[in-house]
């Protein structure tokens, strides 16, 4: 076997049955291989980082395993393409590793196939030795408060999908014609949304943000972004890297009420290191603003972002004509308990905050290292099951029995080679615009380009 690039860089040069866990017994594998010669066919649903890391582990640690990665989108990589912010290209470097995985002759990408519609899970279970569901959170929860249907109330998930070129969100085109926006939630996606709204447009122009998002953001009137949390500064969910980016955001200043941060340093002496350093940075930013040249520059900053704590949404307030958002009514909360498990309970007081846009969301969590470990762990557990005979041990047809089903149903799967044609097209279009790529957002156009 000598496929392109297979086995290179972070991969073992020799495929061999070796598990991460010291508890694993390579002997069991050898027995299995010598007696049954089983080729395990494994199906992974979803081509995001969890799916690819699971596939990577399976291919590396089982010398025969074949892995098919199903994806409902035409293109691979899930949240790495549609979730990671366009101004975080470094995080997308994992695509290089995933591409190496996809180039394995024992791995196939089956894009444009929706499991549950084009093929059922039970059909997949019949065809494969194991089916790994790594399709992420498909949750379309609503905010659940009056006024949420008003124009100007946006799901942050849809907004992220829109600026990242997710086909189902490409018609979102929000109206950013107001000076104050408010984001409900204090996680990394909240900071992504705030940062995309406030970053100087000439910086975004060099990213792979969609052309439509650039056009809308160029006309944005948003000057101030409130990032609102139900709990306090010791419970924020964003991580320090994203906070530091906000603090260093050019031409934006932080609006932090010193009263929210006084005395916090005494409370975090025993806290775990990440919480401690995060809180120290918040406190330092709120209570000890930078001096000199930098402070002068920031004082004139035309844009600002701020954190508001202990506020929970009650009602979206309409403009006088009822046509769009004019503000939001927030319940003032107080904390019961302390630390990570503190609960927010209403005090009975309310506060109205004027704003022309409201974002809310329920978002995926975790950083790439989390997903990587989860993916490897999934692969490891699966191999263990295989070894111990928990999974079916007889031969399975794998994709050869799914292919005719899809054909009969008029479904045309997209291969990884097809994706590489689209990739080249996106990169070429991007180059013309001075961007790393111009994402294609129309699935029909994508399918046409690859001759489907």
């Amino acid at each position: 076997m000598a496929p392109r690039g297979w086995g290179c860089w972070r991969w073992a040069a020799q495929p061999r049955a070796r598990l991460l866990s010291p508890a694993a017994a390579p002997l069991g594998f050898r027995q299995l291989l010598s007696t049954v010669e089983l080729v395990p066919h494994i199906c992974v649903v979803g081509s995001g980082p969890a799916g690819f890391y699971t596939a990577q582990h399976l291919l590396k640690h089982h010398p025969q395993a074949r892995v098919d990665i199903y994806e409902k989108q035409v293109v691979p990589f899930g949240l790495v393409r549609f979730g990671v912010a366009p101004d975080h290209p470094e995080v997308k470097n994992v695509i290089n590793t995933f591409t190496q995985t996809a180039h394995s002759t024992r791995c196939a990408f089956r894009g444009n196939v929706t499991v549950g519609r084009d093929v059922s899970v039970s059909e997949l279970r019949d065809a494969y030795h194991a089916v790994v569901l790594s399709y992420g959170a498909e949750d379309h929860r609503t905010l659940g408060i009056p006024g949420e249907e008003l124009p100007g109330v946006l799901s942050a998930r849809a907004f992220v999908g829109w600026y990242n070129g997710l086909p189902e969100n490409h018609k979102l085109t929000p109206n950013l014609n107001c000076d104050t926006a408010l984001i409900l939630g204090q996680g990394n996606v909240a900071l992504d949304v705030a940062r995309i709204l406030l970053t100087p447009i000439e910086l975004l122009e060099k990213t792979d943000i969609t052309a439509d998002a650039l056009r809308v953001l160029r006309q944005s009137q948003v000057k101030r972004v409130w990032i609102v949390g139900r709990r306090g500064p010791l419970q924020v969910a964003f991580t320090i890297k994203e906070l530091r980016e906000m603090i260093h955001l050019p031409r934006s200043q932080a609006l932090l009420d010193p009263a929210d941060f006084e005395g916090l340093e005494d409370l975090i002496k025993e806290a775990p290191r990440p919480r401690k350093r995060l809180t120290e940075l918040l406190v330092q930013t709120a209570l000890k603003p930078p001096k000199g040249e930098k402070a002068d520059g920031k004082a004139e900053a035309p844009r600002a972002w701020g954190l508001r704590f202990l506020r929970s949404p009650l009602k979206v307030l309409p403009s006088p004509d009822g046509g769009r958002v004019a503000g939001i009514r927030l319940a003032v909360m107080k904390l019961e308990g302390s630390g990570e498990n503190a609960q927010a309970v209403p005090t009975g007081a309310v506060e109205d905050v004027p704003c022309g846009l409201v974002w809310w969301f329920k978002s995926p969590s975790g950083v790439i290292a989390t997903t990587m470990n989860d993916g490897f762990l999934t692969g490891q557990v699966l191999l263990q099951d295989l070894e111990e005979g928990v999974l079916p041990i007889g031969p399975k047809p794998g994709y050869s029995s799914i292919e005719p089903l899809l054909k009969n149903r008029g479904v045309q799967p997209v291969s990884f080679e097809d994706w590489e044609k689209l990739d080249a097209e996106e990169v070429a279009q991007g180059q013309a615009a001075g961007k790393p790529r111009e994402k294609l957002v129309d699935p029909q156009q994508m399918l046409q380009l690859i001759g489907h």
Binding site: C8, P89, N93, I368
Partner: protein
């Protein structure tokens, strides 16, 4: 199997793609790197070029520039290899195809913590000062210790010859034992 040429191509391509990797040799003249993430960002093309050069440079460097490093992998296996003074520990792992699962996912751009390594105390004390940005990423690392650093930020010096670095356990042990317990 692995074609060494494709490794080089991939690295050159990823550097040109805009990776803000630490390039020790390049930064020597520029004083203390500080926030090198920003420093490097506008410099991708030249870095890509210099990367290609350093990889394909003829071996006129004598063996005295070589530093021997021992990696203790997650399963306890010892991987011994050599690198050049100025290479990062991530470079060493990549250039020598060391089999460490998931190492260097962001390719040395300070956007993940997968190249986390644990150092011997006497070496750790002599390492270059850590930046806030590296600490930010270490906050999210599994199995953090008092002598933890990110391999992509550590450049080889002669005094590191024969040092041992340990790859910390990565998987969530508690959950693993539950999952495996269910099956047995």
């Amino acid at each position: 199997m692995a074609a060494p040429g494709s490794v080089k191509l991939l690295l050159a391509a990823s550097a040109a793609f805009g990776a803000a990797s630490r390039r020790c040799l390049l930064l020597v003249g520029a004083g203390k790197p500080g926030r090198h993430g920003e420093l490097d960002r506008g410099n991708a093309a030249s870095r890509g070029a210099s990367r290609g050069f350093s990889l394909s440079a003829p071996s006129r460097r004598s063996s005295e520039d070589k530093v021997t490093i021992h990696f203790v992998n997650r399963d306890g296996e010892k991987l011994t290899t050599q690198g050049k003074v100025g290479d990062t520990l991530l470079d060493i792992v990549v250039n020598n195809n060391l089999d460490i699962d998931g190492f260097g996912a962001c390719e040395g751009t300070l956007a993940c913590s997968t190249c986390h390594l644990v150092f011997e105390e006497h070496i750790f004390g002599k390492l270059e000062a850590i930046t806030d940005e590296e600490n930010d990423m270490l906050d999210l690392a599994y199995g953090l210790t008092d002598t933890s650093r990110l391999g992509c930020q550590i450049c080889l010096t002669k005094s590191m010859n024969n040092m041992t670095v340990r790859v910390p356990e990565a998987v969530a042990d508690a959950r693993q034992s539950i999952d495996l317990g269910k099956n047995s």
